[in-house]
Symmetry: C2
Subunit: 152 residues, 2 copies
């Protein structure tokens, strides 16, 4: 009898590889984050920009992009989107006429509170499968795995 496509497959070493498990888990998080926040029009990437601008008002696009570990060219479209949504504004830098200083707008400040509530609720939902202390340990392990290989 031929095997059906829905039969469980043997994953071999795949299930024991940290890289594969990270990819699957990250995909789950990405999708559920998007579901939780797509009515607000904020992707995981844009959320990261918003947090850094909120916590570090007045920084340049390049500084934000370096902190997030991606190229400054990618920041252009991101800030464009956030500006169009009236969440972030580019102000001319007082000290360097080549660069902009990024700030949350008034609307962005209000929006940010609402967004963070939503994100923390999402986080809480997904933490439901963790036992006490496991979240902190998970974060700690993930940071160690990045140590020396990223800018943050």
């Amino acid at each position: 009898m031929a095997s059906k496509p829905t039969d469980k497959l043997d994953f071999g070493i795949l299930h024991e590889l940290i890289g594969y498990r990270l990819r699957r888990a990250q995909l789950v998080f990405f999708n559920s984050f998007s579901s939780a926040c797509n009515d607000l029009g904020v992707s995981p990437g844009l959320f990261g920009v918003l947090v850094l601008v909120k916590q570090n008002p007045g920084r340049t696009q390049t500084a934000i992009s370096q902190a997030l570990g991606n190229d400054r060219s990618a920041m252009v479209a991101a800030v464009d989107k956030l500006e169009k949504k009236d969440l972030v504004e580019r102000r001319p830098s007082l000290t360097d006429r080549r660069s902009y200083a990024l700030y949350l707008t008034e609307n962005g400040e209000r929006f940010y509170q609402q967004l963070v509530d939503r994100v923390l609720q999402h986080e809480t939902d997904l933490e439901a499968v963790l036992r006490p202390g496991e979240k902190d340990l998970l974060i700690d392990i993930l940071m160690r795995l990045c140590a020396g290989r990223t800018s943050d």
Copy 2:
């Protein structure tokens, strides 16, 4: 005095969010996996296909794609690449003339051993920052985070 782009930024809640930490860690893994295996011409995604074909010879493209959690249309280019590298072959299914049965080629079998050695070495390198028992716990936590939300 103006802040320099290289100053450390305040990440606020970002560093405490599982989703963000997963994304950063996954990026580190993806990049180091690519460095370790790009001379072999195998990406993380192609590696997943190879493992599933090795462990489940004779399955269809659709079965493999479902197990990996992506669309069957994406399998076409993947199997094309693996066939061009003489690692995988499409054999006509004996029971269903619409579908192919996937197998590793002879060359693919030899290549697979070498590739797995490389991947396990890569895994070992990255496990260096983990304490005894933490890897199993990490895998367990990551699988729990996926439970009920993926096909595997």
